[in-house]
Symmetry: C2
Subunit: 346 residues, 2 copies
């Protein structure tokens, strides 16, 4: 029987809210089948502040409305100082954290403050699990090596294709040579393109995607291809072991596509998709994100709505493709649960 | 640095011949990147007899024509007695085996003698890695539990979809609930159906598949759906944890399909495929292998030649599909290499 793990959650938006519910739901199963037990000892967000209780926060309250009553934590352990980095350290210490689930907002340009959060967690001696792509793009090698030095895990399965085990798949493919990949990795643009093909204007399609809860209020990162580019960079950094800067990825979003062009392309049997690509060239990798016409009968043309797709080209398997159809509500949070089980298995 | 592993190969047909070449090819990489070193100390087959040398057999000879000269092994360590089970034990002992790669022919009805080989390897204290589906269908729980008792691994990634990490993928999906799956898992019938759609008679299509090296001389197991049924049973036993007997799988092969019927179905946009299916029903699983008409635009309709496909339905990912396109020469053997790395990582 492994010891009980103290779990801490930084950021309390959709991902971590869903995560605490899923962890609560699978608690008996993870204990009985994997010998892993846990309690929630820390939660922090802009609106909640820094809440910690090493004896365990009120799980039911956390799983409820999402905003745990502050009186559920011991007031003397609630940390409230100004410097964020110091905050995180004090909070992790107060919560006796064994695992940090990092789910703050993505900063494409710097990866901060998530990079600092993860570094602080590893320094504290906790495993660091993130749904944030920024740290991989901006600090993958440093955080990977630092985690190894500290004997802890830095895991991030939920950053690409929700929680589908893409990174873990390659852990199961030793001594394989990944030559390149292509795929559809951004849901918002995929939904917008489908809607525009049926005749909606760009703004209407975006509003529909927002109404469906797929696109964020500020969907710029999706529409201009940043999200897809960051995912591409993360895959290149981790799976091809080539650090690539975002600026090196040729990036074009979907703003230039008119409903007319989309309808014509679809009618001609070559619909547009926002395609991510990477290919080894010499010691480096050439990567791009751009709208491409794909053959209507090809697998990429079939990826609709929130589904996603990736095709890996390796020396052993010339084509190994993974399709995720209509991910459920728990898909992203699930990737973090699976990461936790991986970390706990050590 | 892990100790060096003594590797033994039982059966020396295509799979193990390719495996020794792949292991020789990746030797430096596995040593440098995974800290795993090894030598070949045993090889046995009907034509070669039982060859063992704990100091290492001649690797170049093994990788060559496929038939290592007997003089490469110490004659005093070459075992030659009558009872096979005793043979295997003596041979494993003489070779100081740490890992057995079992690649003898499939016996659909009993799983023998592979089951005995694997049991002998685990008893001896070696990891047992097989490309043979029989032991999973006939003795999965027994061998799994026996391996766990002995602190060794019983691994079989190469039995379904060549070496694509299907079973390992689910090791990466803790606390997920697999509701069912469907897919195309037999290459021979897939090639034959495609050829018949173009107008070839069944016998001509079979001959073509044999000439391509896809179908065996006796292709009955493929054509009558046995191979697909055994794979289905293996997936059900391991991934759904429901032992299912082959007789419980509704099985229909492709003998009843005429070129005319295949051409008509294809013309109508609903081509025939030999589809494997399994679905949880109560505490059990309902499974079948049968020719089905599939929509021409669906993923299964696109699976041609030696490609294969599987679609998993889980509570977290409503649809998670894996496509293997045109597996390379090394795909099956690679699965055994990956299994070896998994076993060595313990």
């Amino acid at each position: 029987m492994k010891p009980s793990f103290n779990l801490c959650f930084l950021g309390f938006g959709n991902v971590n809210r869903t995560l605490v519910r899923l962890l609560a739901d699978r608690q008996a199963e993870l204990r009985d089948r994997h010998g892993i037990s846990y309690r929630f000892t820390g939660i922090a967000s802009r609106s909640l502040g820094w809440i910690a209780d090493p004896d365990g926060l009120d799980q039911a309250a956390l799983c409820g409305a999402g905003a745990p009553a502050r009186e559920n934590s011991r007031p003397d352990l609630t940390v409230n100082v100004n410097t964020t980095a110091q905050n995180v350290r004090d909070w992790l210490a107060a919560a006796h954290a064994d695992v940090l689930f990092e789910a703050t907002s993505l900063n494409v340009q710097t990866g901060q403050p998530a990079v600092d959060h993860i570094r602080a967690a590893l320094e504290h001696g906790a495993h660091a699990i993130t749904a944030n792509k920024g740290p991989i793009v901006h600090a993958y090698r440093e955080l990977r090596d630092f985690a190894a030095d500290r004997g802890r895990r830095f895991l991030f399965e939920s950053t690409v294709m929700d929680g589908v085990p893409i990174f873990s798949l390659f852990d199961q493919l030793p001594a394989i040579h990944l030559k390149g990949f292509h795929g559809i990795l951004n849901s918002t643009t995929n939904v917008i393109l489908s809607e525009m093909e049926t005749g909606l204007a760009f703004d209407e399609a975006l509003k529909k995607a927002q109404a469906l809860g797929i696109a964020e209020t500020d969907a710029t990162h999706d529409i201009d291809g940043w999200d897809a580019a960051v995912k591409t960079a993360a895959l290149v950094a981790v799976l091809m072991d080539v650090p690539i800067r975002l600026e090196e990825i040729a990036r074009e979003g979907i703003r230039g596509l008119t409903p007319q062009a989309l309808r014509n392309a679809k009618r001609d049997g070559w619909p547009f998709k926002l395609v991510c690509r990477a290919q080894r060239v010499g010691d480096g990798v050439k990567a791009s994100v751009a709208p491409e016409k794909v053959l209507a009968t090809s697998p990429m043309a079939k990826i609709s709505g929130t589904s996603s797709y990736i095709y890996f080209e390796t020396d052993i398997f010339p084509g190994l493709a993974i399709t995720e159809e209509n991910p459920g509500l728990y898909a992203t949070a699930y990737g973090m649960v699976a990461d936790f089980v991986r970390a706990a298995a050590r």
